[in-house]
Amino acid sequence: MTAVFEIYARKLKYVKMLPNGTYSGALFTDELTIVTDENRARRVLQGLTKKIASAGVQRLYAAHLAEILEEDNPIVGYMRYVFDNEKNIEDDYGNRYVLRVSELVRMVRREKHRMEAFIRFQKLKDETFYATVDPDFNVLPLILKHFRKRYADQKWIIYDTRRAFGLYYDLHQVEYITLDFSEEGVGKSIVSKYESDEGIYQVLWKEYFKSVNIASRKNNKLHLRHVPKRYWKNLTEKL
């Protein structure tokens, strides 16, 4: 957001967004380091809310959570296209930024949906339900609401191992937490913290998963498309 502000403040024309420290210098270019400025970012956000629908701002936020290198460029491009146009351009799929942002949104939202599906809680002795995830994109902020609504009467933790932070719900509200694995050793000794019948339900679930399969209709390609291998390490039925 701050970057967009700078672009307009300095009347820049050709801009390329790069992560810090990756600028390698090219002919006729200058480097400008952007430090997030809450105030300026807020002004840009306000401007955006005036030009596009709030669902559109939500979509931009989702696209931003993709956190793919270089993908900040279409997002900045999109925002500039918003500000440079009189009318609302959200549906202009002929424009490459609009189209790319809609692709990013689709990727992130698919990942969000997958996480809502593939999270497997394990019940611990203190009645907390614990799950680890390793999503491609930073989707925890997006799935928060779903899990808060659904599991309102149980304590739960969802921990993103790749980004080393998690969500904790204590029956009243959800907080962002970080766990120190070296001390607690949660990751390795999780089994020792299981509540007594956790094991039974895991076995029952695996049995169920095996028996709903119709062997004569086996279609492994489709199976893999729905449940890519990278998620298997956190899926009870695939362990």
Partner: protein
């Protein structure tokens, strides 16, 4: 017990809008598939039979009376515990409960309803519940079931009455239709009530559905789709499911044990079903007396377009949404994007490709903002050959023939 229930096809957990109130457990508003079996089907609900004891002898069913298998039954409490514990671990969206027939319809139905009641009232469970209604159950029980379940379904089993008589002599179609009628009327009544009083109780908010086995009897696609259409129209069905017959018995009345499951045919039927529900096609445009079977090589929309070449080419930048929806290679989402995007600028091939249109099929049927378009005067058969030549069907290896010989 899941072993027998797996042949039930419905897995939908969507279409309801039960909210979590008073910090209870769960909600049912969106469909989530929690995992997928190795045959590629979605697992969203805990799909089980209360029992596989059954007094009926339907030739196509694994739980039939004459089949020599181990019989067992769950208690109501067991099903409840299993559901709650699976749900808390985020394994499932809810429960799909069906059953063999214990003594008579009411006795069995009463048990199914008790499971749902216990989940809702004692455990404050707001997840999805799909109850299979037992043909012949009383109206009072159906009424109670509707109060606790999100969706109710009655299996039609066979597309026609003759098929049913042949394979399931104990069942009769009248018993199946009756609860459907009752449900339909109740659903309409309750929606009216809901309009007047916001707090009126939910009654099966996800509606009713049904399923039929295909490929076990010699009905053609014409019969099947007309039956399906009839149920969508006159019973307000949310879904009709088609289940390709999986050979499980060497009964003389059925296809032999080594016949392949008619997977392509099942797929084509679902495609046709979608065309009727989302693309504005009428059933007699897809199949009719002169075209009784769906084409197994190509999808039903393409095959409709080839039969109606006089309607094409269509100008993407001018045509109505309804017309664009009928172009092969363009789905509902692409069609909507096209209609929105063309307000900003005229679309060319590159734009269409990026929007997600399958150009290899669509290009024979459209013109857009470009000088390049199909100039040859191709016949439908030509187009079919061109498209088949450049696409690789994943099914080509073992193509099961449709039962058109009888």
């Amino acid at each position: 017990m899941a072993d027998a229930a797996k042949y039930d096809v419905s897995c939908a957990s969507s279409g309801s809008k039960r909210k979590n109130e008073n910090k209870g457990l769960g909600n049912a508003s969106n469909g989530i598939c929690h995992t997928y079996t190795e045959d590629g089907r979605c697992v969203s609900l805990l799909k089980i039979l209360l029992t596989n004891h059954c007094i009926f002898d339907c030739a196509y069913c694994v739980s039939r009376k004459s089949n020599d298998i181990k019989r067992a039954a769950f208690t109501v409490q067991e099903v409840v515990d299993l559901t709650i514990n699976f749900y808390r671990r985020n394994y499932i969206e809810g429960l799909f409960l069906s059953s063999g027939i214990f003594k008579d319809a009411d006795f069995t139905m009463e048990r199914l309803v008790r499971v749902a009641k216990k989940l809702r009232t004692e455990h404050n469970f707001n997840g999805y519940i799909h109850l299979k209604s037992i043909p012949g159950a009383s109206d009072e029980l159906m009424q109670e079931a509707g109060l606790y379940a999100d969706r109710l379904s009655v299996n039609l089993e066979m597309p026609t009455e003759e098929g049913l008589k042949l394979l399931a002599p104990d069942k009769n179609r009248e018993d199946m239709i009756k609860p459907m009628h009752y449900l339909k009327n109740q659903l309409i009544l309750r929606t009216e009530e809901k309009k007047l009083f916001k707090k009126a109780p939910l009654f099966a908010p996800a509606g009713q559905s049904t399923q039929m086995v295909i490929g076990a009897t010699p009905e053609n696609d014409h019969h099947i789709l007309f039956t399906a259409n009839h149920f969508y129209k006159s019973f307000n069905m949310k879904r009709v499911y088609y289940s390709g017959y999986v050979p499980i018995s060497n009964d003389k009345r059925l296809p032999g044990l080594n016949t392949a499951v008619p997977m392509v045919r099942e797929n084509r039927l679902y495609q046709a079903d979608w065309l009727m529900r989302f693309y504005g096609f009428k059933v007699n445009e897809i199949v009719n007396d002169s075209v009784p079977h769906l084409d197994l090589d190509i999808d039903p929309k393409l095959s409709w377009a080839i039969r109606n070449m006089q309607l094409f080419p269509v100008d993407i930048n001018k045509a109505d949404l309804q017309v664009i929806l009928r172009i092969p290679g363009i789905g509902v989402q692409s069609a909507q994007k096209i209609v929105k995007a063309r307000l900003f600028s005229k679309l060319n091939w590159e734009n269409l490709k990026q929007i997600g249109v399958a150009i290899n099929r669509a290009r024979y049927f459209i013109t857009c903002s470009s000088n390049a378009f199909e100039r040859r005067d191709l016949t439908g058969t030509n187009i079919k050959q061109f498209i088949l030549a450049e696409s690789q069907s994943k099914y080509l290896k073992n193509k099961p023939a449709q039962l058109s010989l009888f």
